[in-house]
């Protein structure tokens, strides 16, 4: 499955999962879907038959509320049946609203409280360096998450210990829980901040798969710096009435809105997938 197809499946499942569960965070799932689609289709080294493969790349979704996107990516990558995605949020399910590693092959680390993932990733990256292992550690942060002081503690640490095998991808959709980031706690100049903390910064369109592939294959081993990819995204991407609308941080797609969301996604379905169906 190519990155476009995987990203589309993540979006489609995201709508389905938040519909069935009456769950939140479809806006964040749609904004991060292209990033996760590209990661799992083109970038990461992994083996769904051997989830603990020592040389696998590590991924932590630090913005755990978009966990449905990771679950969908793992299911379509062969870690567990796609059918199980329907149990998201359900009584007794292992697929919690915020991403969990318990019993789920392929999930490296459970998150949900913001500001935890980067420190843990830094520990994983440091351990890999000490052991002379060549895999990379990818951490997906939200921009609102960067309000957390612990993110900046970890940013200092990663620079000091020259963690060039650590890649942060920021889903920079410019919105957080109540309103726009700029109206909450100003992040700008965002890229300048990461640069000042000693990181190699790439500023890209987080929905452009070619740009994502290029940014995520930059070999940071050439330098001693950790890499921060600021992926400019749109919250609620590809569903017109959800895009840049804070309502869809929490609102669940039901009724006519659910049907409209599906119609809009169907309209942008990658053409290869239509061909497969015929």
């Amino acid at each position: 499955m190519n990155s476009k197809e995987l990203a589309w499946n993540i979006m489609r499942q995201g709508v389905e999962m938040t519909h069935l569960s009456k769950g939140s965070h479809i806006g964040a799932i749609l904004s991060v879907a292209d990033i996760i689609g590209v990661l799992y289709s083109d970038i990461l080294n992994f083996d769904p038959k051997n989830p603990k493969l020592p040389e696998r790349d590590r991924v932590i979704l630090s913005k755990g509320h978009a966990g449905a996107a990771i679950y969908a990516a793992l299911a379509y990558s062969g870690f567990f049946p796609v059918e199980e995605l329907k149990t998201h949020y359900a009584d007794g399910s292992r697929l919690s609203g915020h991403v969990s590693h318990k019993g789920i092959p392929g999930v490296e680390f459970s998150t949900g409280s913001l500001g935890h993932g980067l420190s843990v990733g830094a520990g994983m990256a440091l351990s890999a360096k000490k052991n002379n292992e060549k895999h990379k550690v990818f951490i997906i942060l939200g921009d609102g998450e960067c309000n957390e002081g612990s993110v900046w503690e970890a940013a200092l640490f990663a620079n000091h210990f020259k963690l060039s095998n650590l890649v942060v991808i920021i889903d920079h959709n410019k919105m957080q829980s109540l309103t726009f980031c700029a109206e909450t706690i100003a992040l700008e100049p965002f890229a300048v901040k990461w640069k000042a903390f000693g990181w190699q910064v790439l500023y890209i369109d987080g929905h452009d798969h070619d740009q994502l592939k290029m940014a995520l294959t930059v070999n940071p081993q050439d330098s001693e710096k950790p890499t921060c990819v600021i992926a400019n995204t749109i919250k609620g991407k590809n569903i017109s009435f959800m895009e840049n609308n804070i309502l869809w941080h929490y609102r669940t797609p039901q009724g006519e809105e659910y049907a409209a969301a599906l119609r809009e996604l169907e309209a942008i379905k990658p053409c290869e997938m239509h061909l497969l169906e015929h």
Partner: protein
């Protein structure tokens, strides 16, 4: 006690290259022997306890055994959620070391009084909680948490604690250590308050009271068996801790007693749900809060004759 810990950890780390110590920029003059002996297994994370604990978890999930080191409440309360969500939930081999349990840093003020840590750490699933009573227990506890899988909390004193045990049999996490048998009264001690409890026992002997004495180097899992046996053998159980009486060692003992058929009474000695607004030496503050040898002696005597 911290030196006993460091000496023991150096021995462990020399034999196991997967052992690592991360400090939150503390341990001046204490950790030097460690970083000189095993420099590749030492990290100073700077003054950032949340990050220190997250990094430790990440390294532990990659197969290392990581000791986080700081003083007072910094390695616990300051990064409590990282301990809960990151280390404990993932059963990571993170060993949290607190130097300065209780009033060790008495003169430095309330911020440096670690007097709720046992309660808070005890409340976290998957966390084993130890508070050794002397240098011998500290050494044994360090080895024990290294050998135990999962997240552990080790509450140490500071410096100047005594060697009280002349010898220690087999040290087991979750097992109390009997110091001596007695009559009617049994004293249970956890942590570095052990020396005050020993002295209190001597004072009690002089007035004809002959208490039994146990130390509990492990607060969680608590030694249920010893508590049950003592609850049937003695009329009065006295718990002593340099800690709030809510949620800590005394509470752990009371949780067992309430589920046990017995005739004993429980007297919990510790801070009575207070912060200390005054400062002073550890000795001074222990006396102020009723856990010096003399105060323990007085309160046990009063309780017996109530």
């Amino acid at each position: 006690m911290r030196d006993a810990f460091v000496r023991t950890l150096i021995d462990i780390a020399k034999k196991d290259k997967n052992v690592c110590l991360i400090t939150g920029d503390l341990g001046f003059g204490v950790l030097k022997p460690y970083w000189e002996a095993v420099p590749d297994q030492f990290i100073n994370a700077g003054i950032s306890e949340q990050n220190m604990t997250g990094v430790a978890t990440g390294m532990a999930l990659e197969g290392k055994t990581v000791f986080t080191y700081s003083i007072g409440n910094f390695p616990t309360l300051r990064c409590l959620e990282q301990i809960r969500n990151d280390a404990a939930y993932h059963n990571a081999n993170v060993k949290i070391i607190c130097v300065g349990g209780g009033f060790c840093y008495g003169a430095l003020g309330m911020s440096h009084h670690a007097t709720e840590d046992l309660a808070i750490m005890r409340a976290l699933p998957n966390v084993t909680v130890l508070a050794p009573g002397d240098l011998v227990e500290a050494q044994a506890a360090t080895k024990a948490i290294y050998e135990k899988d999962g997240t552990c909390y080790l509450r140490l004193g500071r410096g100047g604690e005594k060697t009280i045990h002349s010898q220690l049999g087999e040290f087991q996490i979750g097992k109390a250590i009997k110091i001596i048998n007695g009559e009617k009264v049994v004293l249970f001690s956890t942590g570095a308050i052990f020396d005050e409890v020993m002295e209190a026992r001597d004072l009690l002997l002089k007035v004809g009271i002959n208490p039994a004495l146990y130390t509990f180097p492990t607060v969680k899992p608590i030694d249920k068996e010893t508590i049950e046996i003592c609850s049937r053998a003695y009329d009065l159980i006295v718990t002593v801790e340099e800690h709030n009486i809510i949620g800590g060692f005394g509470s752990a003992v009371s949780e067992i007693l309430t589920e046990t058929v017995n005739n004993s009474r429980l007297l919990k000695l510790g801070l009575n749900d207070k912060y200390s607004g005054i400062v002073g030496s550890q000795k001074y503050l222990r006396n102020e809060f009723g856990i010096s040898a003399k105060k323990i002696f007085q309160r046990v005597k009063d309780s017996l004759y109530e």
